[in-house]
Symmetry: D2
Subunit: 337 residues, 4 copies
Amino acid sequence: MTTDLRVGVVGAGLMGADHIARITNRISGAVVSAVVEPDAGRAAAAAQNAPGSQAFSRIEDALAADAVDAVLIATPGKFHEPVLVPALEAGLPILCEKPLTPDSASSWQILQLEQRLDRPHIQVGFMRRFDAQYSALRQLIASGDEGELLMLRCAHRNPSVPESYTQEMLITDSVVHEFDVVPWLAGSPVKTVEVKYPRRNSLSPEHLREPILVIMELENGVLVDVEMNVSVQFGYQVATEAVFEQGIARIGQPAGLQQWHDGRFSIGEHVSFTTRFADAYDAQIQRWVNAVRAGTLVDGPNAWDGYLVALSCEAGVRALQGGVQSVDAAARPAFYA
Amino acid sequence: MTTDLRVGVVGAGLMGADHIARITNRISGAVVSAVVEPDAGRAAAAAQNAPGSQAFSRIEDALAADAVDAVLIATPGKFHEPVLVPALEAGLPILCEKPLTPDSASSWQILQLEQRLDRPHIQVGFMRRFDAQYSALRQLIASGDEGELLMLRCAHRNPSVPESYTQEMLITDSVVHEFDVVPWLAGSPVKTVEVKYPRRNSLSPEHLREPILVIMELENGVLVDVEMNVSVQFGYQVATEAVFEQGIARIGQPAGLQQWHDGRFSIGEHVSFTTRFADAYDAQIQRWVNAVRAGTLVDGPNAWDGYLVALSCEAGVRALQGGVQSVDAAARPAFYA
Amino acid sequence: MTTDLRVGVVGAGLMGADHIARITNRISGAVVSAVVEPDAGRAAAAAQNAPGSQAFSRIEDALAADAVDAVLIATPGKFHEPVLVPALEAGLPILCEKPLTPDSASSWQILQLEQRLDRPHIQVGFMRRFDAQYSALRQLIASGDEGELLMLRCAHRNPSVPESYTQEMLITDSVVHEFDVVPWLAGSPVKTVEVKYPRRNSLSPEHLREPILVIMELENGVLVDVEMNVSVQFGYQVATEAVFEQGIARIGQPAGLQQWHDGRFSIGEHVSFTTRFADAYDAQIQRWVNAVRAGTLVDGPNAWDGYLVALSCEAGVRALQGGVQSVDAAARPAFYA
Amino acid sequence: MTTDLRVGVVGAGLMGADHIARITNRISGAVVSAVVEPDAGRAAAAAQNAPGSQAFSRIEDALAADAVDAVLIATPGKFHEPVLVPALEAGLPILCEKPLTPDSASSWQILQLEQRLDRPHIQVGFMRRFDAQYSALRQLIASGDEGELLMLRCAHRNPSVPESYTQEMLITDSVVHEFDVVPWLAGSPVKTVEVKYPRRNSLSPEHLREPILVIMELENGVLVDVEMNVSVQFGYQVATEAVFEQGIARIGQPAGLQQWHDGRFSIGEHVSFTTRFADAYDAQIQRWVNAVRAGTLVDGPNAWDGYLVALSCEAGVRALQGGVQSVDAAARPAFYA
């Protein structure tokens, strides 16, 4: 393909607007040809960042107008299915923001539908896989240079969350990232999930009981503990310590400007995921565009990964109530091998 | 007291010999006046580092000879009680290497005996409390500057252990340190202990199943996870990440010589506890000597702390078999208030 | 401009090939429409990364064919002038790899030619200005938050150089970067240059006497010392310590994967400028493309900066022979204000 | 010697009081037996930290009373000679705070006097040689593991100085430390000294023009640049980057408590030399006491080193006025080989 890929972006909220600006300003080989957004104000604002794009209020109209070569879904998770279905039926490649769908049953339905095509068309937007540090850690694990991987000790820290953030979202909106990236790192799916409650942060919204410590066991025996923290005030940090047989590796450490001031030496830390994963978001979209233009369609987590994550989230939500919860996946179809 | 404190060191093995050299060469206000060691070879070797000291094969003989003002017990834990009893009966101040005794029942007996004296005479050798970094962390916690403490995430890593190291020793010889220092940091005793098993390190002695992840809940709700690792090859590291309401603090990071060489920047790390805690061992003995000379006798963990640690170890050993194990302490006597 | 910018890349050597791949694969809003390269082999190799591009052996032919909207010059410095002249005469925007030209006299001629146009058309490829860390440091200096800047202490370290690298190239090929970026950071041009010789590195090519310490005084009194080191073996590092009235800032520290292994903690360091400045090269081209499409043409160092750097290099080359050498620039034309 | 070394401390100002407390509380094998201090108030205050010590107003009286086995001189440099002379004549071992004497001529006289004894009796209090990091760096240099040493890049940063601090003291009170430790590290004496002036720190006392950059060439060709900064506000830092043929080493980096707070990750830095070099001061005195008790008398920089430093300081003071100033030492007597 020598002409630019025409991407239809569905949803022009925060995430959608960000993707529109990204494709327009920083991604090679693609243009935003359509913005699908029922809210007129959002649609108009988004159009300014996508010169030459057409506006639609429904995905079906964009498809009917033959306005797009590929679809990027950036609506909230509960609105994914009604876009995934017609896009799949139209045989278009899709990049779907996480989660694939809000539960494993509906994800399973999407898997069924996708398998009618010749090969996977859906990529799910777990951007951590495109972060340079996660990649380097995965490469180290795969190399065996430090012996086998034994444990992963993770921290996922946010400064604060809005009142609308619910207890379940600790799992479905936040730990969801670890549910994808940890099996990808360790080369093994999640087997069980458990939740422990530390002392509650009094600065959290009143209805939240957090931080939590999420403990996962993987099929290959690797043990993972994730400190999930959404009100830690200081800033944003996603860090992992990998415990090997012969050593330790660590990612997610501060790397900003270094300063000596007022009795302390300091290094700039992130305060939002937008800067922490800025390069990962760019790389994710660029590699997806390249894959679509090259005809391989997917270069990253696919719908099967999305289904597994949905199962892990369901186990995680049950684990919020106590107990060691199992993740029981169906057998992986050869289609996703 | 203007003359030097005459310390009788009981046990001239590795630890005892180390303390003898320390007192002789680096501690102000004390001399090793007696070495109590039945093994003639060890006794002779030790005497070289303690010019002017007398040799005894039994503590009772040293006491009878009025050769010591204070006793430092550096034998293995199972031999502590037969030294503690006569030393207490003689009314002498005692620094007893950890553990106080091998189990809570015998520790309780020691507590009873000690309470016949006018005040605590026993200090237990948990040297981490004398480490500058642990002290700084404790001060930060106490200050409230970062809000309340919520979690402690600990790593206790050794390069390797001899074949004689048993599974129980993961708790009684290694995690024993966290059982003392964690309540001291957090200002709250251990309530429950649980053990999780990651993938086994194939480089461990065959009879060991480790590393383990030890999870403690403290009375005040603080949650603690300790990665206990005794075959991690690379070196020795004892590190803690403290999760507060408003931020994070961390100790135990590498601080040796910094070098750029062969594609990497590196910082020298410890390979043994002897260098990691060298200053802490010195400070522990110096402060104990100062306290004894000043008549306060104890400046650090006392026999009550030793009893609590024995209880935690018993819970930890049970937890090796599974389950969440409670630590049920008797009420603290006013004597130890 | 809604259509892609058609860039003609002149020179398909290492640097040119790199830019061709960059524009084709990672830059938004631009395509390589022409490759100008007399060497047929190079031209053919380059064409594979620029689908749809035309091949020319001379810039004049590309201009005559109306094949380009803008010119990127990636030939060695001595070949810049014969491309700059016709491209300027054609009124095209130009990104010219450093140096502008090999000496200040020829640079001055280019300035005269460019001033016949309505405004600056030439940007010079000093990519450090597009590095996130340099930008953050510049912002800190400009903010005054640490008081006035007093000194810059720089290190510019390469693992090795080929036999063809000459003593003068220490200045003209290496320190040339500091001659641009230091005045940009400090907001003041170079006033004098001096060179000191440390002990010689025996691993350098025999005809080189290096490392050298280059000392610059800026017009505003800021003093700068640059360790210029081209055989330091371990890897590639470009670091700066900025000394302010109230504190210190530092950039260029290692930020790769962190590992504990074999008695040391290490952080991955760069071994080549290609990774150290990968993002800066991308940002430089993307911002230039954006500026050209927006009609502002230049977003970075311009030809006047290139002329000043040429003067500093000449002073630096004289300083290799000894003495404190002055940089005497002509008055800046209003055209470059 | 099995009894404690009786040390007479001369001068009970800040430094003297510190040494008195050190010997009394932390040094093994020594007691402060005499305090020589004409100021009655100071003498009384000091005596509280030296139980059992005698007070004298003149060194001669302490010597006549046979009250001391060794002398520690902690008065300002201009008062050293009148103590050194009688102490040497009495054949006592001496630890003399830096500088040996205020100038090379008087230092030379001391050398003559000392050579009447059987061997060196004077150690000069350059405590940096007893810092663990400096020692590790020296060991690395001596090992040759990184190839030859080529450059040392030093920073010597103080938060502020009193009004009484003079321009010359930049050299004689501050860089004096580098004049001792740099030749000790590099294994070669100072050959020339030069001073460069960066922009002046407006927060310095009005009569000071600083920071300064001091450039030294050593006899073996190693080049050294020292940023001497006495008003940098943020805290206290003494750091060195050693440039080798194959890599870089660095000491003096922050190693305090690590914290994430308010958008930054920070590490506690020193704010005074008293904490930065606390361990070095202790080690210096302990090793001196051990050497004296063992009969070797000196374990550290001797009077010859003190003479060389005096010469370097004189060159440095001349260099404050400009030019490259030579350090011309007499031939080293065999006595100091």
